[in-house]
């Protein structure tokens, strides 16, 4: 139960879900706010007056299904990120869910993300249809109609990129982009990406970048020179250098 786990029960979700009939008429906000707390931005921000004015600031919101047009203003105003907008009329088989998402990087339109349930478990994959950059950003995903009661969050697909340069946090995607732009030597990539310029002095990344260049460009490994090995091989404090005497 919610009090123990933070996850609302199916009954609780049912209790706030609009009727089939209302869902068939177009987008509508769904508010998963089950605990009276002193908070009212949803009611005060609704341009349609679809959320009944609170008598007490601890009131739970009640949506007037006729007035709500699913504009989504309340999604952005809810401090608890408790509101989504559901549009069952999106297509024959799919519904559109608009939900707040406060993590970087934001997904891109067309990206396939993992669709999660209220406990964060992966249930399905979903396509990102719209990304509205606001505070919070709002992501619209298209999902199977049968899952609309289950899905409540998204997460990016686990990365397929491998880290090439630990110091400057560059992965294979970053490097392949530089290669695609025509930078095809270790030195050329180094100067634009900072690969090899960090505190490891290029020790970790140099063999990796050479192999990556060889793989991507289908050339022998030995055709790539490492970047220039410059003094010093281990970093040293300026204070220690400054104290040097002959």
């Amino acid at each position: 139960m919610l009090e123990k786990t933070g996850v609302p029960t199916p009954e609780q979700v049912d209790s706030i879900f609009p009727t089939e009939e209302r869902l068939s008429q177009g987008p509508i906000a769904i508010i998963e706010c089950f605990q009276p707390i002193p908070c009212d931005p949803c009611a005060t921000s609704c341009p349609q007056g679809a959320i009944a004015p609170f008598m007490d600031i601890n009131d739970l919101p009640i949506i007037n299904n006729k007035k709500c047009n699913g504009c989504g203003i309340c999604i952005m105003k809810c401090p608890g990120l408790a509101i989504i907008v559901l549009d069952m009329t999106y297509s024959e088989t799919q519904a559109l869910i608009r939900l707040p998402y406060e993590f970087s990087p934001l997904p891109q339109i067309g990206e396939i993300v993992l669709a999660l349930d209220r406990s964060g478990a992966k249930v399905a994959e979903a396509e990102v249809i719209r990304v509205t950059k606001g505070k919070p950003p709002i992501i619209s995903i298209a999902v199977d109609k049968a899952l609309v009661k289950t899905l409540r969050n998204i997460r990016p697909q686990p990365s397929e990129a491998a880290i090439l340069c630990r110091c400057s946090d560059l992965n294979t995607d970053d490097i392949r982009e530089f290669i695609a732009q025509g930078h095809t030597t270790v030195d050329a990539i180094k100067r634009l990406s900072r690969l090899g310029m960090g505190p490891c002095q290029g020790r970790t990344c140099t063999p990796l970048i050479i192999r990556e260049l060889a793989t991507v460009l289908s050339k022998p490994v030995e055709s790539f020179q490492p970047g220039t090995y410059r003094p010093v091989v281990k970093s040293i404090k300026l204070g220690e250098l400054a104290e040097y005497t002959e």
Binding site: A162, R203, T204, E222, P226, R230, P231, V232, K234
Partner: protein, 355 residues
């Protein structure tokens, strides 16, 4: 400015052997070792060495380190610990950090025996805490007595991968599997058999597809690869493990040789870019010698003989009369150590060095 006859960079098997050889000839030798403990990788080796008497066969690495340290105990050889060589300049000056002090050395000759660096490979999750180089795991358990993991997947069935897997078992760590991309086990087969007898599977033609975990490593996905080294879908196996040990080889640490302007050659069999050198370990720059893994990744026994040869060559370069027999004896030992089918790869690599 410190003036010395011979500067030796690194107090591993090669560096110590070079220092002992040159020191015995009466030269002033300064050995710089970046660690607080001398011996290089020897101190982490708990297994008995192969080779023959001259290379301390049947002794364990950490014992050999002590023998070598005894051999440099002479007034004209100075071993400086916590001392990292920083740079080689074209005016013949070498700089180093000793503790928190910056020093400059003007040596008449140099032996670079800086060792090697562990390679990483590219797969998603390769930077997760719990993905360690095999050497790091050895450092933790054999040098410091810290159990590095509960359950390990080992990537690489060369000698390092096999030996470290066995050492992990000795330290009470479960080894889930040893995974090797090549079709055959690369290391000595006696090491492989030791592992198999303990029930550890060795999967050749397999590699790591990805590593996963929330914050630290929790699982490793391996898969089979085809003859073009491409992963074969639907052969994935997910291993629950808190550590993935990477033993895919070493890269010679030859930054100082690059800086010094030595001619470098790409020789995959020796670990990548290595200094060009003649049969007596002389690089293309006069007075600069290379030995041990920095000159090309080989076994510790070769490092000791190569180090001795570099030390003798440097002494000869500095005007000491070194009999030909001493040099020839080193050549003979090296030849023996690299002979046989197991040395074929190294011999092929060395062949590329000469032209």
């Amino acid at each position: 400015m410190i003036y010395t006859d011979l500067l030796v960079v690194g107090a591993g098997p090669a560096g110590l052997s070079a220092a002992a050889a040159a020191g015995t000839q009466g030269l002033d030798v300064l050995v710089l070792e970046r660690s607080h403990q001398p011996g290089g990788q020897l101190v982490k080796q708990t297994h008995m060495f192969f080779g023959s008497k001259e290379q301390y066969a049947a002794y364990r690495g950490f014992e050999i380190a002590d023998f070598l340290l005894d051999m440099i105990k002479m007034p004209n050889v100075k071993l400086q610990l916590n001392a990292t060589a920083l740079a080689a300049y074209d005016d013949g000056i070498w700089t180093a950090q000793v503790g928190e002090k910056y020093i400059k050395v003007k040596p008449r000759a140099v032996v670079v025996a800086a060792g090697a660096n562990e390679r990483n490979i590219l797969f998603p999750g390769n930077d997760l805490p719990g993905v360690y180089g095999a050497g790091a795991v050895q450092t933790l358990m054999n040098q410091y007595g810290v159990r590095p993991a509960k359950r390990v997947v080992m990537l690489g069935a060369g000698n390092i991968g096999l030996i470290v897997s066995y050492q992990l078992l000795q330290a009470g760590v479960e080894v889930a599997a040893v995974v090797e991309a090549s079709p055959n086990i690369g290391g000595y087969l006696v090491h492989a058999s030791k592992l198999r007898r303990m029930g550890v599977p060795i999967l050749t033609s397999h590699t790591v597809k990805r590593a996963d975990g929330n914050e630290t490593l929790e699982s490793v996905t391996t898969w089979a690869i085809d003859e073009k080294w491409q992963g074969i879908p639907s052969t994935e196996v997910i291993w629950s493990a808190d550590t993935l040990c990477i033993a895919v080889g070493l890269s010679p640490l030859c930054e100082l040789l690059w800086q010094a302007g030595c001619k470098m050659v790409f020789v995959p069999e020796l670990g990548g870019y290595v200094p060009y050198r003649d049969g007596n370990m002389a690089t293309s720059i006069e007075g600069i010698y290379a030995a041990g893994d920095a000159a090309g990744v080989e076994e510790a026994s070769v490092a000791m003989v190569g180090g001795k040869l570099a030390g003798l060559s440097a002494a000869r370069y500095l005007g000491v009369d070194i009999p030909d027999e001493s040099i020839l004896d080193c050549h003979k030992q090296l030849e023996a150590l690299r002979s046989g089918p197991a040395g074929a790869k190294i011999r092929a690599g060395l062949g590329k060095l000469t032209h």
